[in-house]
Amino acid sequence: MNAPLELIRGLAANEASPDDAWVIANVSRRRFLRGASALGGFVLAVGLPSAVRAADPPKYGADGMPHGWVDSPLVFVAIGEDGVVSIVCARSEMGQGVRTGMPIIVADELEADWARVRVVQAPGDEARYGNQDTDGSRSTRHFFMPMRRCGAAARQMLEAAAAARWKVPVSEVQAKNSEVVHGPTGRRLGYGALAKEAALLPVPADDAIRLKDPAQFRYIGTGKLKLLDAHDIVTGKAQYGMDTRVAGMLYAVVARPQVYGGKVTSYDAADALKVPGVVRVVAIEPTPSPPYFNPLGGVAVIARNTWAAMQGRKALKITWDDGPNADYDSVAFRVTLEEAARKPAKVVRNDGDFAAAAAAAAKRIEAEYYLPHLAHASMEPPAASARIVQGKCEVWGCFQSPQAARDLVAKRLGMPAEDVTVHVTLLGGGFGRKSKPDYGVEAAILSKAVDGKPVKVVWTRDDDLHNDYFHTVSVEHLEAGVDAQGRPVAWLHRTVAPTIVSTFEAGANQEANWELGMGVINVPFAIPNIRIENAEAIAHTRIGWFRSVSNIPHAFAVQSFVGELAAAAGRDPKDYLLEVIGPARVVSPQMLGDTWNHGESPERYPVDTGRLRRVTELAASEAGWGRSLPKGSALGIAAHYSFVSYIAAVVEVKVDAKGELTIPRVDIAVDCGACVNPERVIAQMQGSCVMGVSLATLGEITFKTGRAQQDNFHQYEVTRMPAAPGVIRVHIVPGDYSKPLGGVGEPGVPPVAPALCNAIFAATGKRIRQLPIRDQLKA
């Protein structure tokens, strides 16, 4: 086989050693190792991780993330003698297209022929690759520039090697499509022939890197490349966390406490052990609160196949102590949240004087919105495999945060992180659930319990729905004072929802700045008196990130309420929304009380109301806003800023006499800055739209006696094909590659539910204030 394959095989056997990995060619490995040890083992000559720059205050973007960023071609690029360019993708693929998007940035600057590029998935090793937490819609916006520099540096090294070989000035040579060409003589050398010499050259310093003129991009921005893994996916070859197979593998399912904070009092495994195929029954110790990303504990059944393990679990006799949350009940908790939402609470933003302005207003309007818990329900339930050989642990799994998996496995097994290798498979959906690698730790614990044999832990769908890190439940209370023309002069938004912080700090009961910064505190509205409050709420289950997170309840409430105010004023909802956004202006997030700003610099990423206006206008015009529709049909609009991107949606609904809802068409306008792979931006917007429709119409997890009540897709319903929007048209605002990029994976979700409910109001006069809609429209 060709050289890169050999290299990959050699590396696979050695992956436990984090230093022994990607280099431009085999020969440079030694040089890299020397360089690495001189710098303390991890840090490369370029792309110093943020930790090294601790003196630089304050850190934003990729600099502010654990382990920052790395841009060295010695880390991300390997070229075989046959010219095949291997590019490392260090971010996790969960459907957002990152395994295509990241490598095409490198390949473009590297002038690599995409047909001769292979992509290699990095193991969890942030010291080497920079931050790998694939969440927060951050991959492209944080790694666009490092990956460009990485590719450009490698290109320059290849050009320098060719110039040296030909003994000509480097200015006379140019890399083009995996070859370097000498202009004056037309001589050519392929990358494979140059790789070894190039690898011996120094990596260009940051200020010597020559980036391409974006006009010369061959892949970036074109959207012409097919999805990297498409062929493997459609032929069944693609490998997900659920699919790992290792010789001698055993399979496990775990009976976990059904109530948050519960634990096993006693268990009897006798009947389980009689089930054919069952090998062992092992107790997993629970972890004390807070839950963090640790296993919930319980009793595991290990068997020769997954089915036998499931049958064994059914035969377990377990007595549980349900613990302090045994009374958690969604109906009662809603009342608790509503009571909190109706009393003054902690003020988190206060512009002007809401009370005085509201008292003096021509009219006061009030509304309250309820949004339930949601489960991620990725099509692939959590799954991970582990084995321990000679004191070293190998883990395979569908992880959004492989470094966290590595650290937690190491901690739980009592071994150094260097002795734990975490291989990242494809993720069959993630949506934030797979940022929490508790299932990887379970696999490692169980492998240890069977003397290091490989064990795969499979979560069933009911495990996934019962023991998720749930999207929070919230009540959003809004009040406005409007003037004689119906324009808002005073705005109060009191939000109350159990915080994700409770997953990290026991007893945390108020939203963090990064939850408030998701569309409640940072509303960029032209209203002189704005008061935002956050009431306390206790978490009674594990709360976690769900795609677009707190933007879901916040955008739903804010954009629905703007629709309500427009209706009260008798105004066109689109015109009214634009008026509330106000004139185009650039607003500092700090002026809005937002100290977080999605982790980005307030100077580089201010809130630009002009961009919010533009997507609103674009979605409206593309949707044919104002066009006449038959009775029962109407358009609704919403716009929302999140993950430093601007999105507006116009939803067309049809509600028939029986209250049956259909969604013939949605128009989404997105301004996420320049796009690396616009085809995938469109795909993400379409997918976000369906997820938004799903959570608006069907999504709800309820609790009773502490237990999630939904077992599977017959009870936790999600949108299926017939109920999905007929057409989802996506309109991308052209961007500039010299400007900061925005997020894409999440920000498409928040505007969908309020646009849908605004459309339903326009069509029927019925205002939806509680999600899901389910049968609220039925006569």
Partner: protein, 155 residues
């Protein structure tokens, strides 16, 4: 021992007869292209063809498969319609995470073999049992039409 005919090959498997086909395919035979999503025939991720008809492997005990021919995603490409469907999926960029797509392709192939020019209603009926949490339904519909020879646009 139970005899199974999977993708034209004979297999003898030594597991209880009530074991669902899904786990025999995945854990015993190493055919992991057929996915686990729900275990209750609710999501369609495990769709295979049994004597040419779509079936859910997660609720099909292997004891019911004597003398029947099972085809999975790994072999559907050798079928002319199946191969056309797979190509349409790639051409229109249908997959996002891709986990459900094996089941989607098996359902779509069964539809097109039965009805080469399906209407939208036919597509809804045939595909409603297959959940895609990434929300690729518009492109699935377009790809089915594309495979049927209509000009399918990425919806």
């Amino acid at each position: 021992m139970i005899k199974l005919d999977i993708n034209g090959k004979q297999h003898d498997v030594d597991v209880p007869g009530d074991t669902p086909l899904l786990w025999v395919l995945r854990d015993e035979l190493g055919l992991t292209g057929t996915k686990f999503g729900c275990g209750m025939a609710l999501c369609g991720a495990c769709t295979v063809h049994i004597n040419g008809l779509p079936g859910r492997a997660c609720v099909t005990p292997i004891s019911t498969l004597a003398g029947k021919k099972v085809v999975t995603i790994e072999a559907i490409g050798t079928d002319k319609v199946g191969g056309t469907v797979q190509a349409a999926w790639v051409e229109l960029g249908v997959p996002q995470c891709g986990y459900c797509q094996a089941g989607q392709i098996m359902s779509a192939t069964a539809l097109l073999k039965r009805k080469p020019k399906p209407t939208d209603a036919d597509i809804d009926d045939a595909m409603t049992g297959n959940i895609c949490r990434c929300g690729t339904y518009g492109r699935i519909r377009a790809a089915i039409k594309h495979a049927a020879g209509e000009k399918g646009e990425a919806a």
